[in-house]
């Protein structure tokens, strides 16, 4: 039995990691031309993912996420730009070279895309058959992977006999089978319920920690980014709108990612004076909801919290909240106080 952590050259306790990033994308542009009208699906997208990191790519439908994943894996030929994996530009490869380069990626799909004609074990073995492993090697690897994703007792089941979460575990094991360097997850939890989503995300994180594999997660779910990502890229209309370490972008109330990742359920406007406040700025002296209320009270302003979303992301308490003032005439003064404390107040409608 091979120790799973020895699978990857860049394992956490292995040899010193090479400094080159696992994946780097330079000015990737894809223009679709259909009957005279051109559509720019990707507009000079650049991206660097260091080894053993989990990078989230978020954006609404039509932001270019699907085109990006197809260009990353050479299924689609970009108009210009480079996709460099292990020092090799994927966009220049064809035929057998491209097929070999694709094995550097393991892909996890939204709907698992398992073969109904094969058992769980045989699905996991498929990439190994294609990569030309012999039977004994395949069997040993499949046993190891079933154990890794906790499905040893389901080896002989067909996908139809497995739950959605179990199917996705098989999908992840299959993606890992041929020892890829990068795990590419395309909306991996979008078809799953909340509890199963949590389990799958925990598994992805565990795999990164144990195997040192690099993970790229494409998603429209803010919770996925909050829970597993180290860094995040926001795509909009095919271009990179924001990009950075998760802890930094999420704590900065001026970013769109701050709002996307910390959703706040706001009450219907009813004439009460409310201020929206952002918690988590590194320079703010106030780090909790209690702190905000006592800060205001200290200035003689009575206030209450009407709604709040607070999370601990990347070791930092971040959140958005709505503060309701007892006296509407004090709105301007309350805003000054909060602004001074770097809580980024905005008068809510």
């Amino acid at each position: 039995m091979v120790d799973a952590s020895s699978d990857f050259p860049a394992g956490p306790e292995g040899t010193p990691r090479p400094t080159a990033p696992a994946l780097s994308v330079h000015d990737l542009t894809k223009v679709f031309d259909s009957r005279g009208t051109t559509v720019t699906a990707l507009d000079a997208v650049s991206l660097v993912v260091p080894r053993s990191e989990i990078h989230g790519i978020v954006g609404r439908s039509g932001a270019g996420k699907s085109t990006l994943i197809r260009c990353l894996t050479g299924l689609e030929q970009p108009t210009s730009g480079q996709v460099v994996v292990a020092g090799e530009d994927i966009t220049t490869l064809r035929g057998a070279d491209l097929r070999a380069a694709r094995r550097r990626f393991g892909v996890v799909y939204q709907h698992a895309n398992l073969l109904d004609s094969r058992t769980a074990a045989d699905n996991i073995a498929l990439p190994l058959e294609i990569a030309g492993w012999d039977k004994a090697e395949r069997d040993a690897r499949v046993t190891e992977l079933l154990e890794l994703v906790g499905l040893t007792d389901r080896a002989g089941n067909h996908p139809g006999q497995l739950s959605g979460g179990q199917q996705q575990r098989v999908g992840i094991a299959r993606a890992l089978a041929a020892r890829p360097e990068i795990l590419l997850c395309d909306e991996p939890t979008s078809a799953l319920d909340a509890a199963t989503t949590g389990q799958i995300l925990a598994l992805l994180k565990e795999l990164r920690d144990r195997l040192g594999i690099t993970v790229v997660v494409i998603t429209h779910e803010p919770s996925v980014v909050r829970e597993v990502c180290d860094a995040v890229t926001l795509l909009g209309d095919g271009a990179v709108l924001e990009q950075g370490r998760l802890g930094e972008v999420i704590a900065d109330p001026t970013t769109r990612l701050h709002r996307e990742l910390i959703p706040l359920v706001e009450p219907a406007p009813d004439g009460l004076a409310r201020l929206q406040v952002a918690l988590g700025h590194p320079d703010s002296p106030v780090g909790s909801i209690d702190g905000i209320i006592s800060l205001l009270r200290h200035e003689g302003i009575e206030a209450d919290v009407a709604a709040a979303t607070v999370e601990t992301v990347a070791g930092r308490r971040v959140g958005r909240l709505l503060v309701e003032l007892a006296d509407a005439a004090l709105v301007d003064r309350a805003r000054d106080v909060l602004d001074h404390a770097r809580l980024h107040p905005e008068v809510a409608a």
Binding site: V107, L115, D116, S117, I130, A178
Partner: protein
């Protein structure tokens, strides 16, 4: 002509001795042509599917030519096809009578029909499965052999069942033009010599054969379907 005193039912030598032979000939020409049709139809179906626009190896010209040939084959009534290809039958089988010779027109008639059914089954395999295999670095051949055909197998088996039943119908027609089998017996004794008992017995046997094929085909399709 038929007389009141002629033996009927099991006393009728046509039913006692002729029908078993005819049944055997029907089964032999049906199964013989079905086996060849299965092999050729899968090849043609795969080619149709792969060469289609948006397929895994789009070849518009090949697709159009193949599609046209298949459509011509399917639009000809079997009786006319059978007569039209008599020279080909003679070239391949050396004769144009008997159940062995009939395997040629039966196969020619059934391959286009079955190939279309195979193509339809292949088209129903989700693009995501093909993409997953492509991303594993699979070649076109590997995608076909490891993904498309196994995933489409339940549909292909159901299509083959339909094809075999159509072949039983064609074989009766072939029998009428010198091919032997139940069709020939029903035609020459049941119809031309007014032996109603022979006609009924032949029809019953055909119904039983079709039922057996359908039930067996359904079972097999269910056994290979893991969805």
């Amino acid at each position: 002509m038929r007389f009141e005193t002629d033996p009927t039912w099991l006393d009728n030598p046509v039913i006692r001795e002729g029908l078993p032979t005819a049944l055997w000939e029907t089964l032999a020409m049906t199964l013989g042509s079905a086996a060849i049709t299965a092999a050729l139809g899968i090849v043609v179906g795969v080619l149709l599917h792969q060469s289609a626009p948006g397929g895994i190896a789009p070849q518009p010209t090949l697709h159009r030519v193949l599609g046209a040939v298949v459509n011509v084959g399917r639009s000809l009534p079997f009786l006319i096809l059978m007569i039209a290809i008599i020279p080909i039958t003679r070239f391949i089988a050396g004769t144009t009578v008997g159940w062995r010779a009939m395997i040629v027109p039966l196969t020619v008639g059934a391959v286009p029909f079955f190939a279309r059914l195979v193509e339809t089954s292949l088209r129903e395999v989700s693009a995501g499965k093909v993409e997953a295999a492509t991303m594993m670095g699979a070649t076109r051949w590997e995608v076909t052999r490891k993904v498309l055909l196994p995933e489409a197998l339940p549909g292909i088996v159901a299509g083959l069942t339909t094809t075999v039943i159509a072949l039983i119908g064609y074989s009766a027609m072939a029998g009428a033009v010198g091919g032997g089998g139940l069709g020939a017996t029903a035609m020459s004794y049941g119809y031309n010599r007014f032996q109603t008992d022979v006609m009924i017995a032949a029809v019953v046997l055909l119904v039983v054969v079709v039922q057996v094929v359908q039930v067996a085909g359904d079972r097999l399709a269910r056994a290979v379907d893991h969805r």
